[in-house]
């Protein structure tokens, strides 16, 4: 069947199982949008307020569904507006295909109107990218892009398609959904070694990361934990894969992790690290990092093994298969002494807790949790509210926590929450954000109201850039350079202006009322929660420090 490039794009997307795309039209993608119009019964297009929102939405959509997220933008500024979203997906290993239009081939390289070398720009933040110069390559390039995006360690792929390639025609034949590249073969000897290490360890500790979420290996890791009676600590990206209800679940480790998760990791004699990359935020000072422990590092990306932390044993391959194999071979056991030590750590950690009657971040999160179900997706922006959410929200189901880990993108939340909500069939979705982060991409409120999405947007409004202020308080002599925003924006009125519902909470009682109202509605609701500007995220291990340097108060 002879089709135009634009028709091939739409047909190949549908062929590859894509039913929703996020994007923004423009001159260099008009033909694609014409085909999207004609095929709107087969593929849904969500128009965001800004291309960055589209990229984050595709990212959020991919995270909650496990499918490849797709976003489309025009050439030039449309393409560059995707860049932060693509980088975000790259750092958090989200499978994403970004399609950009470009000027016709004859105008490429001449600094034409709205021309930008987006392939050059995105080279370091994509797994791979393409400029398609011949319509006959187009279908196979899109298929290969999907294959690369979802194989191994997932990530974003960009396809730049000049306008005349979209209008020229060639034969198109439907193909199957592409399969992933085969995983690296697991070294059986290494698995055996791991089993022996676990059998002979006294204080095993499972360190579970984003790779566990991506490989849908939460249950497998939990099974191992139960069989060897080991505690589990998560990297932030690893949260949600394993239910907070597991008795050995210690929560997040790292800079703002729980005391017991970080302390137990320090005291362990064996760390079974699954799908983690030992980022600086997770390890602190590497030379002091878990010195007493042997590390077994299980990952799908060979470049991660021994990159940041030297492991005792590295095992390359699909983490789900590897952990399953280890679990099958390992001896079942109980570690009452180890858990007694951990219990003491937990008791000690409880002494840091303080509840005040004022509206505290922790109270807000715990109150929201009373209204959500284990399936509710919780998205965040970046900053203090994000850390509080990671610390205090009890995640129980995989792929319910959508947050910007590696890149730390303020402004990620609105787009991501929209994409997540759509990915979950427009079920109630929560966004925790701060006044700073929300201010960056609040234009996406327009998208939320246009599509009438049941979002509950909880702003922790402290009128300052809280996380930066916290560092200025602790490390920069309280010189609050450019962090005291004190903006006059009225978020309640703002929500109303966008066509959403706006509520305000300055006390716990007001919050109760607001939440009851918000969760009773199925349209976008914003709750402007006023918190104190000097609330800190604690505990905190200072940058470059270790558990011994932990700040509690």
């Amino acid at each position: 069947m002879k089709l135009t490039g634009a028709q091939i794009i739409v047909e190949t997307l549908i062929e590859q199982g894509c039913d929703t795309v996020f994007g923004y039209p423009g001159g260099a993608v008009l033909v694609i949008y014409d085909e999207l119009y004609k095929n709107s019964d087969r593929i849904r297009h969500i128009i965001t307020a800004h291309e960055q929102g589209a990229a984050h939405a595709a990212d959020g959509y991919a995270r909650v569904t496990g499918k490849v997220g797709v976003c489309i933008a025009t050439s030039g500024p449309g393409a560059t507006n995707l860049v932060t979203g693509i980088a975000n997906a790259y750092l958090d290993s989200t499978p994403l295909v970004a399609i950009t239009g470009n000027v016709p081939l004859s105008l490429l390289g001449r600094d034409s109107f709205q021309e930008v070398d987006i392939a050059g720009i995105t080279m370091p933040i994509t797994k791979h990218n393409y400029i398609v110069k011949d319509v006959r390559d187009l279908a196979d390039v899109i298929r290969e892009a999907f294959k690369i995006a979802k194989s191994g360690r997932p990530g974003p792929v960009l396809i730049d398609i000049p306008r005349d390639v979209q209008t020229s025609s060639c034969e198109y034949e439907k193909a199957d959904v592409v399969k992933k590249f085969p995983y690296p073969k697991v070294n059986k000897q290494s698995v055996k070694e791991a089993v022996e290490l676990i059998n002979s360890s006294k204080r095993p500790y499972i360190y579970s990361g984003g790779g566990v979420v991506l490989a849908d290996a939460g249950d497998t890791v939990l099974e191992l934990a139960k069989k060897i009676d080991a505690p589990i600590g998560c990297s932030m990206m690893g949260l949600s894969a394993i239910s907070a209800d597991y008795k050995g679940m210690l929560g997040m480790t790292g800079m703002h992790g729980t005391y017991h998760a970080s302390k137990a990791k320090q005291e362990a004699d064996l760390i079974i690290a699954v799908g983690v990359r030992f980022s600086d935020r997770a390890t602190g000072n590497i030379s002091k990092y878990s010195k007493n422990a042997k590390i077994i590092h299980i990952d799908v990306d060979s470049a991660e093994i021994d990159k940041n932390v030297t492991s005792y044993l590295g095992i390359l391959g699909n983490v789900n298969d590897i952990v399953k194999e280890i679990t099958a071979q390992v001896e079942p056991r109980q570690n009452p002494e180890w858990f007694a030590v951990i219990e003491k750590m937990k008791e000690h950690a409880k002494t840091f807790d303080e509840y005040k009657t004022r509206l505290m971040p922790r109270t807000i999160i715990e109150k929201v949790q009373e209204y959500t179900t284990p399936d509710t997706v919780v998205a965040t922006d970046v900053g203090q509210h994000q850390m509080w959410t990671a610390q205090h929200y009890k995640f129980r189901k995989p792929r319910t926590f959508v947050t910007s880990g590696g890149l730390g993108t303020m402004g990620f939340g609105m787009g991501a929450a929209i994409g997540s909500c759509i990915g979950r069939g427009e079920k109630k979705t929560v966004l925790f954000t701060g006044d700073g982060s929300f201010g960056m991409n609040l234009n996406e409120l327009a998208t939320a109201t246009s599509y009438n999405l049941p979002l509950v947007i909880v702003i922790m409004n402290n009128k300052v850039l809280g996380m930066v202020r916290q560092w200025q308080s602790l490390f920069y002599g309280k010189r609050y350079s450019n962090t005291t925003l004190n903006r006059k924006t009225d978020f309640v009125k703002l929500a109303e202006a966008f066509g959403a519902t706006g509520l305000r909470a300055t006390t716990v009682e007001e919050l109760d009322k607001a939440l009851e109202k918000a969760f009773g509605m199925d349209t976008p609701v914003l709750i402007d929660c006023h918190i104190e500007m000097d609330e800190m995220v604690l505990p905190m291990i200072p940058p470059g420090g270790s558990i011994d340097d932990i700040i509690i108060k």
Binding site: M123, P124, K127, I131, I148, D301, S302, A303, D306
Partner: protein
């Protein structure tokens, strides 16, 4: 950690942009390229890159792993120092006054080079050899006065039957 010079050989897709991908990877990860040479292979679908890098064992391991992750890189290998034929080509323009020509000619013949251009006050010499031999010759020429030079960067191929070629099934 001790820093060594080593040679990497990579078979890559013969596309536009591949050189940028590879050199960009080196730049953003902070690895230094001492020399890089690229040319098409016996199969026109692929090019071969020969890259000389200085780095410690950590960098050595990371470079190979990171390069292998690039979709356009099909195979990558560190060439074994003791079992590799290494060659580099040199073109060098030297000041050649009539008094010193005989001396230059002797040096050229000892280093098995060849005079390829000759002017009243200068001569251009080409020479092929291991990079260390090229270094030695350049050193020697400094005394005459070097007007300009260019080096090809090393080429390297493993001795014996072992090869870096791609089986088509490798490249599914």
């Amino acid at each position: 950690m001790k820093k060594d010079q080593f040679i990497l050989s990579a078979i890559v897709n013969n596309h536009f942009g591949v050189l940028t991908r590879v050199s960009g990877l080196f730049a953003r990860r902070g690895y230094n390229i001492d020399s890089l040479n690229v040319g098409v292979t016996e199969n026109p679908k692929y090019s071969r890159m020969t890259i000389i890098v200085t780095g410690d064992d950590y960098i050595k391991e990371q470079i190979v792993k990171q390069l292998a992750k690039l979709h356009d890189v099909k195979k990558v290998q560190i060439m074994p120092d003791d079992n590799t034929v290494k060659r580099e080509h040199l073109l060098i323009k030297i000041k050649a006054s009539s008094e010193r020509r005989a001396e230059i000619n002797t040096a050229v013949s000892i280093f098995r080079g060849q005079v390829v251009d000759f002017h009243t006050d200068s001569m251009t010499v080409e020479m092929t050899g291991e990079p260390s031999k090229v270094d030695a010759f350049i050193n020697y020429c400094e005394d005459f006065g070097i007007l300009e030079l260019c080096r090809s960067g090393a080429l390297a191929i493993i001795r014996g039957e072992e090869s870096l070629s791609i089986d088509e099934e490798d490249n599914e």
